[in-house]
């Protein structure tokens, strides 16, 4: 029995880009995910942060088997996904579920809530009607909704309640891993804490793991055991959540956490305003992708891409921490 639930090794996803109607398949390639490795442990949360275009959503899609990796592997409970047959993949899809950002788009408006939650059960398991109804009731109770919610339609619920329905659906097959892609960013501030608490409680009760993707750093730090910071398709820093949040090491992580908004007007925070914007993933800078915006760039950063190396309690991809 492996003690790692999901292991991603050197995962890559490259998208070829065609320009214009007449051009042949060009050499342009977007390296959306470019050599990413991480482990997800049972009952733990891996948080992934980064800005638009850093590859965090593509990473989620690779984990969900919604994209095939260009290279690299995902192992689930010690078995590479590439080796699984159709039945194996079906089993994997049961064990790995997802909750998306927008609960207005992720629930079918023409289905009753009971049918939405029961759908995975009906698809994957041959259960009689009574068992399904009982299970739906349990799941609704789990996420804090009344049993009569099963007979209603999604439009009769608020955003927070809809997100609870989406979570109930994700839980219906007792998954081992749930991919949470921005699960609270579409919700009102007073509702976010409710949903984050619900997710924490469910993890404690059921021992489910999360891959938590969000741009709200405080929420990710709050929820995660490990945080991975991505920039242009690569992980630049990965380590224990509290440590990364308290003392970020990579200059990009430092700037990102410095840009997080304060929770109090007197909160002392160093103002690091990064120059420029995230470069186009079509033509990322040479060497370390971050060097054009980095205040501490060294000469070798422009030519040599730094490897993700152990540094204290975590791994950092930065030449500043190269062994002398």
């Amino acid at each position: 029995m492996s003690d790692v639930l999901l292991r991603a090794r050197d995962l890559r996803k490259h998208f070829p880009v065609r320009r214009g109607l007449l051009s042949r398949a060009s050499a342009l390639v977007v390296r959306a995910v470019d050599g990413v490795s991480f482990d997800i442990l049972p009952g733990q949360t891996l948080g992934v942060v980064g800005e638009s275009g850093c590859g965090k959503t593509t990473t989620a899609k690779l984990v969900l088997c919604l994209e095939t990796p260009t290279d690299g592997s995902v192992e689930f409970e010690g078995r590479p996904l590439g080796d699984l047959d159709a039945a194996g993949i079906r089993g994997y899809r049961r064990a790995v579920q997802a909750v998306f950002q927008d609960p207005y788009a992720s629930l079918n408006p023409r289905m009753r809530v009971g049918a939405i939650i029961a759908e995975p059960l009906v698809t994957h398991e041959a259960l009689d009607r009574g068992t399904v109804d009982k299970r739906v009731k349990e799941l609704l109770d789990f996420v804090g909704l009344p049993a009569r919610a099963a007979t209603l339609f999604p439009h009769e619920f608020s955003g927070g309640q809809r997100q609870r329905i989406a979570i109930a659906r994700a839980l219906s097959l007792s998954p081992k891993l749930i991919v949470l892609d921005e699960p609270v960013s579409a919700l009102d501030v007073s509702i976010r804490a409710q949903i984050l608490n619900l997710l924490t409680d469910l993890q404690q009760q059921l021992g489910v793991s999360y891959l938590f993707i969000a741009h709200d750093l405080a929420a990710v730090a709050h929820m995660s055991h490990t945080i991975a910071v991505m920039y242009l398709g690569k992980i630049v820093e990965i380590g224990p959540a509290a440590a990364v949040a308290k003392s970020p090491q990579h200059p990009y992580t430092q700037a990102l956490f410095a840009a997080a908004l304060p929770s109090h007007p007197d909160e002392a925070r160093e103002d690091i305003v990064l120059p420029g914007e995230v470069p186009s993933p079509l033509a990322p800078p040479s060497g370390c992708h971050f060097h054009p915006r980095c205040a501490r760039a060294l000469p070798r950063c422009t030519t040599q891409a730094p490897a993700l190396r152990p540094h204290g309690d975590r791994r950092v991809a930065c030449h500043l921490y190269d062994p002398a």
């Binding site: 009102d188 501030v189 804490a193 409710q194 608490n197 690091i272």
Partner: protein, 325 residues
């Protein structure tokens, strides 16, 4: 003591639908003041009326909405008494606005230069070449690189952060006294948001600009504002200087809102103190104090009577029965 730049007195804006049968009190008896060069944050959740409040000040309400009472005193004049023609001379000239989505506020068919120069030509009657030169200076001021080349480009050629900076350039073009920003950074990435907020602060200093930040994000308020007003179901439930509100919130809603936000410095995995229940439906708010169904310290009278606004400390007001003798 000079008169404040902007003073709202008992402002109420209602949406009327179904032939007058249904009235939604989107903004209900709101009184606020804003001094020159200062920044006021207006926080609230969806349906709290914060955006309707901004549109009321701009007199840009949709046809179904009407300001039914109160005054909006701006530089000593009541904006509610202005004619449409007079308002057009104020909007963009003395009061400017930045909206959430910069792609929606820029015209995709005109060049950046035309759009930045437009307000100078309309409001100040600047000639084409003068307006063009000044527009280029404005782009430089909002830190657009190679401004001369960008002038002839179109909005779709810009990134989200650049578009929002261009909207900022248009807003300050005519040296307004008041800038209303409605969720200006919601669509931006974190590091780009940091750039934009520091830019707004620089513009504010250079132009002695007063700002109103409409947001749901308490972090933006903590970073940018001098004072804050918290809205709930159309009413300002608490208002005051920022440090006072963050240190000693008087209203249970404000307190709960501040506590429910995860902090970077927190111990992880602890439960967050959440506010139970849902924000009310603005067209059918609960009787009495609208927060009473979710309030942890609710009193009997909260269910029947709406609390008046009382001063709880210097410059700090709250609408809560707990603070009534």
């Amino acid at each position: 003591m000079a008169e404040p730049l902007l003073e709202l007195r008992g402002l109420s804006t209602h949406y009327v639908s179904a032939g007058g049968a249904r009235v939604t009190r989107a903004v209900d008896d709101v009184s606020l003041t804003l001094e020159r060069g200062r920044t006021l944050g207006i926080v609230g959740e969806s349906g709290s009326g914060k955006s309707t409040l901004a549109l009321s000040i701009m007199r840009l309400l949709p046809p179904a909405a009407r300001a039914v009472g109160g005054e909006i005193r701006f530089e000593g004049e009541d904006l509610l008494r202005k004619s449409a023609v007079e308002m057009r001379r104020i909007r963009g000239k003395r009061i400017a606005m930045i909206l959430q989505d910069p792609m929606a506020s820029l015209n995709p068919l005109f060049t950046i230069g035309d759009q930045v120069a437009e307000s100078l030509r309309v409001h100040e009657g600047a000639s084409r070449p003068t307006a063009w030169t000044r527009a280029r200076g404005l782009l430089e001021a909002v830190r657009i690189s190679a401004p001369a080349a960008r002038m002839t480009e179109f909005p779709h050629q810009m990134s989200g952060g650049m578009r929002q900076r261009i909207v900022g350039a248009i807003a300050v073009a005519c040296e307004p006294r008041l800038l209303i920003a409605d969720e200006p950074t919601t669509s931006l990435d974190l590091t780009i948001q940091a750039q934009y907020l520091s830019l707004l602060r620089d513009l504010q200093r250079q132009h002695d600009l007063a700002m109103i930040f409409i947001t749901h994000n308490l972090g933006i308020v903590a970073k940018m504002c001098d004072a804050v007003a918290v809205m709930y179901a159309g009413r300002v439930v608490e208002a005051g200087p920022i440090r006072q509100i963050f240190n000693k919130p008087a209203h249970p809603y404000t307190r709960a809102l501040l506590e429910s936000v995860p902090r970077l410095t927190d111990d992880t995995h602890a439960r967050l103190p959440a506010i139970e229940g849902q924000p009310p439906d603005p067209s059918a708010p609960p009787a009495g104090c609208a927060f009473h169904p979710r309030c942890p310290v609710v009193l009997e009278r909260c269910r029947e009577q709406a609390p008046p606004s009382v001063t709880v400390a210097a410059g700090q007001t709250a609408r809560c029965w707990l603070h009534m003798p």
